[in-house]
Protein backbone atom coordinates (compact mmCIF):
# COMPACT_ATOMS: atom_id res chain seq x y z
CA UNK A 1 0.00 0.00 0.00
CA UNK A 2 2.50 2.61 1.13
CA UNK A 3 5.09 1.41 -1.39
CA UNK A 4 2.58 2.17 -4.12
CA UNK A 5 1.61 5.51 -2.62
CA UNK A 6 4.38 7.52 -4.26
CA UNK A 7 3.66 6.40 -7.83
CA UNK A 8 -0.09 6.73 -7.26
CA UNK A 9 0.14 10.23 -5.81
CA UNK A 10 2.61 11.19 -8.54
CA UNK A 11 0.13 10.08 -11.18
CA UNK A 12 -2.62 12.16 -9.58
CA UNK A 13 -0.29 15.16 -9.65
CA UNK A 14 0.84 14.39 -13.21
CA UNK A 15 -2.80 14.56 -14.22
CA UNK A 16 -2.97 18.00 -12.66
CA UNK A 17 -0.04 19.13 -14.82
CA UNK A 18 -1.63 17.67 -17.94
CA UNK A 19 -4.93 19.45 -17.28
CA UNK A 20 -2.84 22.60 -17.01
CA UNK A 21 -1.35 21.87 -20.44
CA UNK A 22 -4.77 21.46 -22.05
CA UNK A 23 -5.81 24.84 -20.59
CA UNK A 24 -2.61 26.40 -21.89
CA UNK A 25 -1.80 24.73 -25.20
CA UNK A 26 0.79 27.41 -26.04
CA UNK A 27 2.92 25.73 -23.38
CA UNK A 28 3.45 23.02 -26.02
CA UNK A 29 5.06 25.33 -28.60
CA UNK A 30 8.55 24.25 -27.53
CA UNK A 31 7.81 20.63 -28.43
CA UNK A 32 5.78 21.27 -31.58
CA UNK A 33 6.55 24.49 -33.42
CA UNK A 34 10.17 24.68 -32.30
CA UNK A 35 11.37 21.40 -33.86
CA UNK A 36 9.49 22.25 -37.06
CA UNK A 37 11.21 25.63 -37.27
CA UNK A 38 14.65 24.19 -36.55
CA UNK A 39 14.27 21.40 -39.08
CA UNK A 40 12.99 23.74 -41.79
CA UNK A 41 15.47 26.55 -41.12
CA UNK A 42 18.57 24.44 -40.99
CA UNK A 43 17.60 22.18 -43.86
CA UNK A 44 16.78 25.00 -46.27
CA UNK A 45 19.24 27.67 -45.14
CA UNK A 46 22.35 25.60 -44.43
CA UNK A 47 21.51 22.35 -46.19
CA UNK A 48 22.60 23.66 -49.56
CA UNK A 49 25.97 24.81 -48.30
CA UNK A 50 26.68 21.84 -46.05
CA UNK A 51 26.68 18.12 -46.84
CA UNK A 52 27.98 18.67 -50.36
CA UNK A 53 25.00 20.74 -51.42
CA UNK A 54 22.27 18.10 -51.01
CA UNK A 55 19.48 19.32 -48.76
CA UNK A 56 18.11 15.80 -48.70
CA UNK A 57 21.39 14.39 -47.38
CA UNK A 58 21.63 17.18 -44.83
CA UNK A 59 18.13 16.53 -43.51
CA UNK A 60 19.08 12.86 -42.98
CA UNK A 61 22.08 13.98 -40.94
CA UNK A 62 20.22 16.78 -39.14
CA UNK A 63 17.03 15.16 -37.87
CA UNK A 64 18.50 12.92 -35.15
CA UNK A 65 20.51 15.91 -33.94
CA UNK A 66 17.45 18.15 -33.79
CA UNK A 67 15.67 15.51 -31.69
CA UNK A 68 18.45 15.71 -29.12
CA UNK A 69 18.59 19.49 -29.26
CA UNK A 70 14.85 19.78 -28.69
CA UNK A 71 15.11 17.52 -25.65
CA UNK A 72 17.59 19.96 -24.18
CA UNK A 73 15.52 23.05 -24.95
CA UNK A 74 12.23 21.48 -23.87
CA UNK A 75 13.69 20.67 -20.45
CA UNK A 76 13.53 24.38 -19.57
CA UNK A 77 9.77 24.41 -19.05
CA UNK A 78 9.51 21.89 -16.22
CA UNK A 79 11.86 23.94 -14.05
CA UNK A 80 10.10 27.19 -14.88
CA UNK A 81 6.67 25.70 -14.10
CA UNK A 82 7.81 24.17 -10.83
CA UNK A 83 9.33 27.43 -9.72
CA UNK A 84 6.09 29.25 -10.57
CA UNK A 85 4.03 26.74 -8.61
CA UNK A 86 6.31 27.01 -5.59
CA UNK A 87 6.22 30.83 -5.74
CA UNK A 88 2.44 30.94 -6.02
CA UNK A 89 1.95 28.76 -2.96
CA UNK A 90 0.22 25.94 -4.84
CA UNK A 91 2.77 23.56 -3.35
CA UNK A 92 2.06 24.74 0.22
CA UNK A 93 -1.12 22.72 -0.02
CA UNK A 94 0.79 19.59 -1.12
CA UNK A 95 3.34 20.06 1.63
CA UNK A 96 0.62 20.07 4.27
CA UNK A 97 -0.83 16.77 3.00
CA UNK A 98 0.33 13.34 4.16
CA UNK A 99 2.01 12.52 0.84
CA UNK A 100 5.66 12.04 -0.03
CA UNK A 101 7.50 15.29 -0.58
CA UNK A 102 8.80 13.77 -3.81
CA UNK A 103 5.33 13.28 -5.29
CA UNK A 104 4.84 16.77 -6.79
CA UNK A 105 8.26 16.59 -8.46
CA UNK A 106 7.87 13.05 -9.73
CA UNK A 107 4.38 13.95 -10.93
CA UNK A 108 5.73 16.84 -12.98
CA UNK A 109 8.34 14.55 -14.58
CA UNK A 110 5.67 11.93 -15.36
CA UNK A 111 3.55 14.56 -17.08
CA UNK A 112 6.51 15.55 -19.23
CA UNK A 113 6.44 12.10 -20.88
CA UNK A 114 3.42 13.27 -22.85
CA UNK A 115 5.29 16.35 -24.06
CA UNK A 116 8.26 14.32 -25.23
CA UNK A 117 6.12 11.74 -27.01
CA UNK A 118 4.48 14.62 -28.83
CA UNK A 119 7.88 16.11 -29.64
CA UNK A 120 9.16 12.87 -31.18
CA UNK A 121 5.97 12.46 -33.21
CA UNK A 122 6.07 16.03 -34.51
CA UNK A 123 9.78 16.01 -35.31
CA UNK A 124 9.80 12.67 -37.08
CA UNK A 125 6.42 13.33 -38.72
CA UNK A 126 7.46 16.71 -40.08
CA UNK A 127 10.82 15.26 -41.11
CA UNK A 128 9.00 12.65 -43.16
CA UNK A 129 6.83 15.31 -44.75
CA UNK A 130 9.86 17.19 -46.04
CA UNK A 131 11.74 14.13 -47.20
CA UNK A 132 13.48 12.44 -44.28
CA UNK A 133 13.63 8.65 -44.62
CA UNK A 134 14.88 6.35 -41.88
CA UNK A 135 17.37 3.83 -43.23
CA UNK A 136 16.52 1.24 -40.59
CA UNK A 137 13.46 -0.68 -39.44
CA UNK A 138 10.45 1.00 -37.84
CA UNK A 139 11.29 -0.88 -34.65
CA UNK A 140 14.68 0.81 -34.51
CA UNK A 141 13.08 4.20 -35.07
CA UNK A 142 10.71 3.46 -32.17
CA UNK A 143 13.69 2.47 -30.05
CA UNK A 144 15.30 5.79 -30.95
CA UNK A 145 12.19 7.66 -29.78
CA UNK A 146 12.21 5.60 -26.59
CA UNK A 147 15.83 6.56 -25.87
CA UNK A 148 15.05 10.22 -26.56
CA UNK A 149 12.17 10.19 -24.08
CA UNK A 150 14.12 8.31 -21.43
CA UNK A 151 17.07 10.67 -21.76
CA UNK A 152 14.71 13.67 -21.60
CA UNK A 153 13.22 12.47 -18.32
CA UNK A 154 16.67 12.13 -16.78
CA UNK A 155 17.66 15.58 -18.00
CA UNK A 156 14.40 17.01 -16.59
CA UNK A 157 15.73 16.46 -13.08
CA UNK A 158 18.51 18.97 -13.69
CA UNK A 159 15.87 21.53 -14.66
CA UNK A 160 13.71 20.49 -11.70
CA UNK A 161 16.67 21.11 -9.41
CA UNK A 162 17.24 24.58 -10.84
CA UNK A 163 13.49 25.18 -10.49
CA UNK A 164 13.67 24.45 -6.76
CA UNK A 165 16.71 26.66 -6.04
CA UNK A 166 16.26 29.69 -8.30
CA UNK A 167 14.39 32.68 -6.97
CA UNK A 168 12.24 33.50 -9.98
CA UNK A 169 10.88 31.63 -13.01
CA UNK A 170 12.87 33.99 -15.22
CA UNK A 171 16.08 33.02 -13.47
CA UNK A 172 15.30 29.33 -14.04
CA UNK A 173 14.82 29.96 -17.74
CA UNK A 174 18.07 31.92 -17.96
CA UNK A 175 20.17 29.36 -16.09
CA UNK A 176 18.83 26.31 -17.89
CA UNK A 177 19.01 27.87 -21.37
CA UNK A 178 22.54 29.13 -20.78
CA UNK A 179 23.59 25.59 -19.87
CA UNK A 180 21.80 24.07 -22.82
CA UNK A 181 23.23 26.35 -25.52
CA UNK A 182 26.84 25.12 -25.37
CA UNK A 183 25.57 21.55 -24.91
CA UNK A 184 23.36 21.66 -27.99
CA UNK A 185 25.76 23.46 -30.31
CA UNK A 186 29.00 21.95 -29.01
CA UNK A 187 28.06 18.62 -30.49
CA UNK A 188 27.37 16.97 -33.81
CA UNK A 189 23.81 18.28 -34.35
CA UNK A 190 24.64 20.51 -37.31
CA UNK A 191 28.11 19.53 -38.51
CA UNK A 192 30.39 16.53 -37.91
CA UNK A 193 32.60 17.18 -34.89
CA UNK A 194 35.67 16.21 -36.97
CA UNK A 195 35.45 19.67 -38.59
CA UNK A 196 35.93 21.39 -35.20
CA UNK A 197 39.22 22.46 -33.54
CA UNK A 198 40.85 19.93 -31.22
CA UNK A 199 40.05 21.72 -27.98
CA UNK A 200 36.37 21.83 -28.92
CA UNK A 201 36.42 18.17 -29.84
CA UNK A 202 37.58 17.41 -26.33
CA UNK A 203 34.35 19.00 -25.12
CA UNK A 204 32.13 17.39 -27.75
CA UNK A 205 33.53 13.97 -26.87
CA UNK A 206 32.34 14.25 -23.28
CA UNK A 207 29.12 16.09 -24.13
CA UNK A 208 26.33 13.59 -23.38
CA UNK A 209 24.31 14.93 -26.30
CA UNK A 210 27.07 13.81 -28.71
CA UNK A 211 26.55 10.25 -27.55
CA UNK A 212 22.77 10.55 -27.59
CA UNK A 213 22.96 11.78 -31.18
CA UNK A 214 25.35 8.91 -31.96
CA UNK A 215 22.77 6.44 -30.67
CA UNK A 216 20.01 8.12 -32.68
CA UNK A 217 22.03 8.12 -35.92
CA UNK A 218 22.83 4.46 -35.37
CA UNK A 219 19.17 3.60 -34.79
CA UNK A 220 17.75 5.78 -37.56
CA UNK A 221 20.47 5.87 -40.22
CA UNK A 222 22.33 2.64 -39.55
CA UNK A 223 25.58 4.42 -38.55
CA UNK A 224 27.96 2.39 -36.37
CA UNK A 225 26.82 2.39 -32.72
CA UNK A 226 30.29 2.22 -31.19
CA UNK A 227 30.14 2.91 -27.47
CA UNK A 228 27.55 5.67 -27.81
CA UNK A 229 24.80 3.63 -26.17
CA UNK A 230 26.98 2.82 -23.18
CA UNK A 231 27.92 6.46 -22.64
CA UNK A 232 24.34 7.58 -23.07
CA UNK A 233 23.15 5.15 -20.41
CA UNK A 234 25.98 6.23 -18.12
CA UNK A 235 25.11 9.90 -18.51
CA UNK A 236 21.45 9.18 -17.84
CA UNK A 237 22.39 7.37 -14.65
CA UNK A 238 24.68 10.22 -13.60
CA UNK A 239 21.92 12.79 -14.19
CA UNK A 240 19.56 10.81 -11.96
CA UNK A 241 22.07 10.06 -9.23
CA UNK A 242 23.17 13.68 -9.01
CA UNK A 243 20.02 15.70 -9.58
CA UNK A 244 17.22 13.64 -8.03
CA UNK A 245 18.65 13.83 -4.49
CA UNK A 246 19.69 17.47 -4.97
CA UNK A 247 16.21 18.43 -6.17
CA UNK A 248 14.44 16.56 -3.37
CA UNK A 249 16.69 18.10 -0.77
CA UNK A 250 16.34 21.67 -1.92
CA UNK A 251 12.58 21.31 -2.41
CA UNK A 252 12.23 19.90 1.10
CA UNK A 253 14.19 22.80 2.55
CA UNK A 254 12.51 25.59 0.69
CA UNK A 255 10.49 27.69 3.15
Amino acid sequence: MSALALPRHSLVLAKRNLIGVTRNPEALLDVTFQPVIFLALFTYIFGGALAGGSQQDYLQFLLPGVLAQMVAFASVSIGVNLNTDIEKGVFDRFRSLPISRAAPLVGAVFADIVRYVLMCAVTIGFGYAIGFRAETSPLEVLAAAGIVIAFALCLSWASVFIGTIARTPGAVQGIVLLTMFPLTFGTSTFVPTSTMPDWLQTFTDVNPLTHLIGVLRALMLGDPMGNHLLWTLVSMAVLLVVFVPLALRSYGRRA
Binding site: I19, G20, G89, S96, L97, P98
Partner: protein, 317 residues
Protein backbone atom coordinates in the same frame (compact mmCIF):
# COMPACT_ATOMS: atom_id res chain seq x y z
CA UNK B 1 -5.57 18.76 30.13
CA UNK B 2 -6.35 17.62 26.62
CA UNK B 3 -4.66 19.98 24.17
CA UNK B 4 -4.92 19.58 20.41
CA UNK B 5 -2.36 22.32 19.78
CA UNK B 6 0.55 23.07 22.06
CA UNK B 7 3.64 25.13 21.35
CA UNK B 8 6.33 26.42 23.66
CA UNK B 9 9.04 28.96 23.01
CA UNK B 10 8.76 29.01 19.21
CA UNK B 11 11.51 31.08 17.64
CA UNK B 12 12.15 31.75 13.98
CA UNK B 13 14.48 34.17 12.30
CA UNK B 14 14.50 35.25 8.64
CA UNK B 15 17.71 37.11 7.88
CA UNK B 16 17.57 40.22 10.06
CA UNK B 17 13.96 39.73 11.12
CA UNK B 18 13.16 37.86 14.31
CA UNK B 19 9.73 36.75 13.13
CA UNK B 20 9.00 34.73 16.29
CA UNK B 21 10.77 35.45 19.54
CA UNK B 22 9.56 32.75 21.91
CA UNK B 23 5.85 32.19 21.33
CA UNK B 24 3.66 29.85 23.39
CA UNK B 25 0.31 28.72 22.02
CA UNK B 26 -2.24 26.24 23.32
CA UNK B 27 -5.69 25.17 22.23
CA UNK B 28 -7.86 22.64 24.00
CA UNK B 29 -9.48 19.99 21.85
CA UNK B 30 -12.74 21.14 20.30
CA UNK B 31 -12.11 24.85 20.84
CA UNK B 32 -11.11 27.86 18.74
CA UNK B 33 -7.85 29.63 19.49
CA UNK B 34 -7.74 33.14 18.06
CA UNK B 35 -4.29 34.52 17.30
CA UNK B 36 -4.60 38.27 17.10
CA UNK B 37 -1.85 40.53 15.81
CA UNK B 38 -1.04 43.32 13.37
CA UNK B 39 0.84 42.97 10.05
CA UNK B 40 4.22 41.36 10.56
CA UNK B 41 3.43 40.11 14.08
CA UNK B 42 4.45 36.57 13.18
CA UNK B 43 1.03 34.95 12.79
CA UNK B 44 1.72 33.31 9.45
CA UNK B 45 5.15 32.16 10.58
CA UNK B 46 3.60 30.46 13.63
CA UNK B 47 0.95 28.77 11.49
CA UNK B 48 3.53 27.54 8.99
CA UNK B 49 5.58 25.98 11.76
CA UNK B 50 2.56 24.27 13.31
CA UNK B 51 1.43 23.02 9.88
CA UNK B 52 4.92 21.51 9.23
CA UNK B 53 5.72 23.78 6.27
CA UNK B 54 8.79 25.23 7.95
CA UNK B 55 10.88 24.30 10.97
CA UNK B 56 11.29 26.49 14.02
CA UNK B 57 14.82 27.55 15.02
CA UNK B 58 13.98 26.75 18.64
CA UNK B 59 11.05 25.67 20.76
CA UNK B 60 8.72 22.75 20.24
CA UNK B 61 5.18 22.14 19.13
CA UNK B 62 2.78 19.24 19.20
CA UNK B 63 -0.45 18.62 17.32
CA UNK B 64 -2.65 16.02 19.00
CA UNK B 65 0.41 15.15 21.04
CA UNK B 66 2.61 14.52 17.96
CA UNK B 67 5.78 16.57 17.64
CA UNK B 68 5.75 18.66 14.45
CA UNK B 69 9.51 18.56 13.97
CA UNK B 70 10.01 14.89 14.74
CA UNK B 71 6.99 13.33 13.04
CA UNK B 72 5.77 15.84 10.46
CA UNK B 73 4.29 13.11 8.24
CA UNK B 74 2.06 11.93 11.08
CA UNK B 75 1.03 15.48 11.91
CA UNK B 76 -0.01 16.03 8.28
CA UNK B 77 -2.54 13.22 8.60
CA UNK B 78 -4.56 15.16 11.14
CA UNK B 79 -4.32 18.77 10.00
CA UNK B 80 -5.93 20.99 7.42
CA UNK B 81 -4.34 24.28 6.39
CA UNK B 82 -5.88 27.30 4.73
CA UNK B 83 -2.97 29.64 4.19
CA UNK B 84 -3.17 33.40 4.07
CA UNK B 85 -2.87 33.37 0.29
CA UNK B 86 -5.14 31.00 -1.56
CA UNK B 87 -3.16 28.00 -2.76
CA UNK B 88 -5.72 26.69 -5.21
CA UNK B 89 -4.57 25.59 -8.62
CA UNK B 90 -5.82 28.25 -10.99
CA UNK B 91 -5.79 26.07 -14.09
CA UNK B 92 -7.95 23.39 -12.50
CA UNK B 93 -11.69 23.77 -11.97
CA UNK B 94 -13.05 23.92 -8.44
CA UNK B 95 -14.20 20.34 -8.76
CA UNK B 96 -10.84 19.15 -10.09
CA UNK B 97 -8.99 20.92 -7.29
CA UNK B 98 -11.00 19.15 -4.61
CA UNK B 99 -11.06 15.77 -6.35
CA UNK B 100 -7.29 15.89 -6.69
CA UNK B 101 -6.86 16.51 -2.95
CA UNK B 102 -9.24 13.63 -2.23
CA UNK B 103 -7.21 11.28 -4.41
CA UNK B 104 -4.00 12.42 -2.75
CA UNK B 105 -5.68 11.48 0.53
CA UNK B 106 -6.20 8.00 -0.90
CA UNK B 107 -9.91 8.24 -1.64
CA UNK B 108 -11.00 6.33 -4.73
CA UNK B 109 -11.82 8.48 -7.76
CA UNK B 110 -15.52 8.07 -7.10
CA UNK B 111 -15.37 8.88 -3.40
CA UNK B 112 -13.06 11.82 -4.03
CA UNK B 113 -15.59 13.23 -6.46
CA UNK B 114 -18.48 12.70 -4.07
CA UNK B 115 -16.57 14.48 -1.29
CA UNK B 116 -15.74 17.31 -3.71
CA UNK B 117 -19.41 17.80 -4.54
CA UNK B 118 -20.36 17.77 -0.88
CA UNK B 119 -17.85 20.54 -0.15
CA UNK B 120 -18.71 22.58 -3.26
CA UNK B 121 -22.32 22.50 -2.14
CA UNK B 122 -21.44 23.52 1.40
CA UNK B 123 -19.34 26.45 0.21
CA UNK B 124 -21.86 27.59 -2.36
CA UNK B 125 -19.57 26.85 -5.29
CA UNK B 126 -21.68 24.27 -7.10
CA UNK B 127 -22.49 26.66 -9.94
CA UNK B 128 -18.82 27.43 -10.45
CA UNK B 129 -17.66 23.81 -10.01
CA UNK B 130 -16.75 23.31 -13.66
CA UNK B 131 -14.97 26.61 -14.18
CA UNK B 132 -11.21 27.01 -13.86
CA UNK B 133 -10.36 28.61 -10.52
CA UNK B 134 -8.61 31.34 -12.49
CA UNK B 135 -12.06 32.78 -13.20
CA UNK B 136 -13.09 32.84 -9.52
CA UNK B 137 -13.45 36.01 -7.48
CA UNK B 138 -11.17 36.50 -4.47
CA UNK B 139 -13.89 35.38 -2.10
CA UNK B 140 -14.65 32.26 -4.14
CA UNK B 141 -10.98 31.32 -4.15
CA UNK B 142 -10.80 31.66 -0.39
CA UNK B 143 -13.81 29.43 0.00
CA UNK B 144 -12.39 26.86 -2.39
CA UNK B 145 -9.12 26.99 -0.50
CA UNK B 146 -10.92 26.39 2.79
CA UNK B 147 -12.90 23.55 1.20
CA UNK B 148 -9.62 22.03 0.01
CA UNK B 149 -8.26 22.00 3.54
CA UNK B 150 -11.35 20.14 4.78
CA UNK B 151 -11.40 17.28 2.24
CA UNK B 152 -9.75 14.86 4.65
CA UNK B 153 -11.93 15.86 7.63
CA UNK B 154 -8.93 17.04 9.65
CA UNK B 155 -9.27 17.22 13.41
CA UNK B 156 -7.04 20.30 13.69
CA UNK B 157 -7.57 23.17 11.27
CA UNK B 158 -5.38 26.21 10.72
CA UNK B 159 -7.03 29.24 9.17
CA UNK B 160 -4.66 32.13 8.44
CA UNK B 161 -6.76 35.31 8.19
CA UNK B 162 -9.68 33.42 6.64
CA UNK B 163 -11.94 36.45 6.31
CA UNK B 164 -9.51 39.03 4.96
CA UNK B 165 -10.93 40.25 1.67
CA UNK B 166 -14.40 38.83 2.20
CA UNK B 167 -17.48 41.02 2.10
CA UNK B 168 -19.50 41.23 5.34
CA UNK B 169 -22.05 38.60 4.39
CA UNK B 170 -19.42 36.10 3.23
CA UNK B 171 -17.56 36.83 6.43
CA UNK B 172 -20.61 35.83 8.44
CA UNK B 173 -20.80 32.65 6.35
CA UNK B 174 -17.17 31.91 7.13
CA UNK B 175 -17.85 32.38 10.83
CA UNK B 176 -20.71 29.94 10.50
CA UNK B 177 -18.34 27.41 8.91
CA UNK B 178 -15.84 27.78 11.75
CA UNK B 179 -18.60 27.30 14.33
CA UNK B 180 -19.89 24.19 12.63
CA UNK B 181 -16.38 22.71 12.37
CA UNK B 182 -15.93 23.14 16.10
CA UNK B 183 -19.42 21.82 16.73
CA UNK B 184 -18.32 18.65 14.90
CA UNK B 185 -15.39 18.32 17.26
CA UNK B 186 -12.53 19.92 15.33
CA UNK B 187 -10.02 22.26 16.89
CA UNK B 188 -9.41 25.51 15.02
CA UNK B 189 -6.52 27.93 15.19
CA UNK B 190 -7.51 31.13 13.47
CA UNK B 191 -5.42 34.22 12.94
CA UNK B 192 -7.00 37.61 12.53
CA UNK B 193 -6.36 41.31 12.75
CA UNK B 194 -9.81 42.01 14.19
CA UNK B 195 -10.68 41.78 17.85
CA UNK B 196 -14.30 41.61 16.77
CA UNK B 197 -13.64 38.40 14.85
CA UNK B 198 -11.62 36.82 17.63
CA UNK B 199 -14.36 37.83 20.06
CA UNK B 200 -17.06 36.29 17.89
CA UNK B 201 -15.32 32.96 17.36
CA UNK B 202 -12.55 32.22 19.80
CA UNK B 203 -12.70 30.47 23.15
CA UNK B 204 -9.31 31.91 23.96
CA UNK B 205 -7.27 34.67 22.36
CA UNK B 206 -3.50 35.01 22.15
CA UNK B 207 -2.34 38.49 21.17
CA UNK B 208 1.08 38.63 19.53
CA UNK B 209 3.19 41.54 18.46
CA UNK B 210 6.71 41.60 17.03
CA UNK B 211 7.00 37.86 17.52
CA UNK B 212 6.06 37.85 21.21
CA UNK B 213 2.89 37.03 23.10
CA UNK B 214 1.63 40.16 24.83
CA UNK B 215 -1.62 38.76 26.17
CA UNK B 216 -3.48 35.48 26.46
CA UNK B 217 -7.01 35.36 27.81
CA UNK B 218 -10.61 34.51 27.11
CA UNK B 219 -12.45 37.12 25.03
CA UNK B 220 -14.27 38.42 28.08
CA UNK B 221 -11.06 38.51 30.11
CA UNK B 222 -9.32 40.42 27.33
CA UNK B 223 -12.20 42.84 27.04
CA UNK B 224 -12.07 43.43 30.77
CA UNK B 225 -8.49 44.58 30.29
CA UNK B 226 -8.84 46.56 27.08
CA UNK B 227 -12.35 47.76 27.77
CA UNK B 228 -15.55 46.47 26.23
CA UNK B 229 -17.50 48.48 23.74
CA UNK B 230 -16.55 52.03 22.88
CA UNK B 231 -18.67 54.89 21.72
CA UNK B 232 -16.99 56.89 18.98
CA UNK B 233 -18.22 60.23 17.65
CA UNK B 234 -17.01 62.41 14.81
CA UNK B 235 -18.65 65.86 14.80
CA UNK B 236 -19.13 67.58 11.44
CA UNK B 237 -17.49 70.73 12.81
CA UNK B 238 -14.02 69.83 14.18
CA UNK B 239 -14.13 72.96 16.38
CA UNK B 240 -16.84 71.36 18.49
CA UNK B 241 -14.71 68.32 19.28
CA UNK B 242 -14.03 69.37 22.88
CA UNK B 243 -17.70 70.02 23.50
CA UNK B 244 -18.52 66.60 22.07
CA UNK B 245 -15.89 65.02 24.29
CA UNK B 246 -17.44 66.60 27.36
CA UNK B 247 -20.91 65.35 26.46
CA UNK B 248 -19.99 61.72 25.86
CA UNK B 249 -17.53 61.80 28.77
CA UNK B 250 -20.39 62.83 31.06
CA UNK B 251 -22.55 60.03 29.74
CA UNK B 252 -19.94 57.36 30.31
CA UNK B 253 -18.71 58.83 33.54
CA UNK B 254 -15.08 58.99 32.41
CA UNK B 255 -12.92 61.25 30.28
CA UNK B 256 -13.26 60.83 26.51
CA UNK B 257 -10.07 60.35 24.49
CA UNK B 258 -9.07 61.78 21.15
CA UNK B 259 -8.43 58.55 19.25
CA UNK B 260 -7.95 59.96 15.78
CA UNK B 261 -8.17 63.13 13.70
CA UNK B 262 -11.49 64.75 14.55
CA UNK B 263 -12.73 61.75 16.53
CA UNK B 264 -13.39 61.26 20.23
CA UNK B 265 -14.26 58.00 21.92
CA UNK B 266 -15.06 56.65 25.32
CA UNK B 267 -15.48 53.19 26.84
CA UNK B 268 -19.10 52.45 27.67
CA UNK B 269 -20.83 49.81 29.78
CA UNK B 270 -23.65 48.89 27.41
CA UNK B 271 -25.60 50.01 24.41
CA UNK B 272 -28.17 52.06 26.39
CA UNK B 273 -25.93 55.10 26.09
CA UNK B 274 -26.39 55.23 22.33
CA UNK B 275 -29.88 56.76 22.56
CA UNK B 276 -28.79 59.20 25.27
CA UNK B 277 -25.80 60.26 23.19
CA UNK B 278 -27.97 61.01 20.17
CA UNK B 279 -30.39 62.97 22.32
CA UNK B 280 -27.69 65.04 24.09
CA UNK B 281 -25.75 65.82 20.91
CA UNK B 282 -28.97 66.83 19.22
CA UNK B 283 -29.83 69.08 22.14
CA UNK B 284 -26.45 70.78 21.89
CA UNK B 285 -26.94 71.15 18.12
CA UNK B 286 -23.83 69.16 17.28
CA UNK B 287 -24.19 67.44 13.90
CA UNK B 288 -22.13 64.27 13.48
CA UNK B 289 -20.75 62.35 10.50
CA UNK B 290 -20.03 59.27 12.56
CA UNK B 291 -21.49 57.83 15.71
CA UNK B 292 -20.73 54.22 16.48
CA UNK B 293 -20.61 51.57 19.12
CA UNK B 294 -17.87 49.01 18.55
CA UNK B 295 -15.25 46.78 20.14
CA UNK B 296 -11.81 48.34 20.42
CA UNK B 297 -9.83 48.21 17.20
CA UNK B 298 -6.51 46.43 17.13
CA UNK B 299 -4.81 49.82 17.48
CA UNK B 300 -6.75 50.52 20.64
CA UNK B 301 -6.05 47.05 22.01
CA UNK B 302 -2.34 47.54 21.49
CA UNK B 303 -2.48 50.97 23.00
CA UNK B 304 -3.98 49.53 26.15
CA UNK B 305 -1.78 46.44 26.32
CA UNK B 306 1.56 48.00 25.47
CA UNK B 307 0.96 51.63 26.37
CA UNK B 308 2.06 52.77 22.95
CA UNK B 309 0.41 52.80 19.60
CA UNK B 310 1.40 50.72 16.64
CA UNK B 311 0.83 53.46 14.14
CA UNK B 312 1.74 56.77 15.77
CA UNK B 313 1.29 58.98 12.68
CA UNK B 314 -2.25 57.81 12.20
CA UNK B 315 -3.52 58.09 15.73
CA UNK B 316 -1.67 61.14 17.00
CA UNK B 317 -2.00 63.26 13.88
Amino acid sequence: MDYAIEAEGLRKRFGDTQALDGVDLAARRGTVLGVLGPNGAGKTTAVRILATLIQADAGSARINGIDVAREPAKVRETIGLTGQYASVDELLTGEQNLTMIGQLLNLSGKRAKARAHELLEWFDLTDAAKRPAKTYSGGMRRRLDLAASLVGRPSVIFLDEPTTGLDPSKREDMWGVVRSLVHDGSTVLLTTQYLEEADALADEITVINHGSVIAHDTPSGLKRVVGGQRLTVRPVDPDRLDETATIIGDLAGTRAEHTGRGVVSVPVAGDEVLGDAIYRLNEANIAVTELSLHLPSLDEVFFTLTGRTENPQEVLA
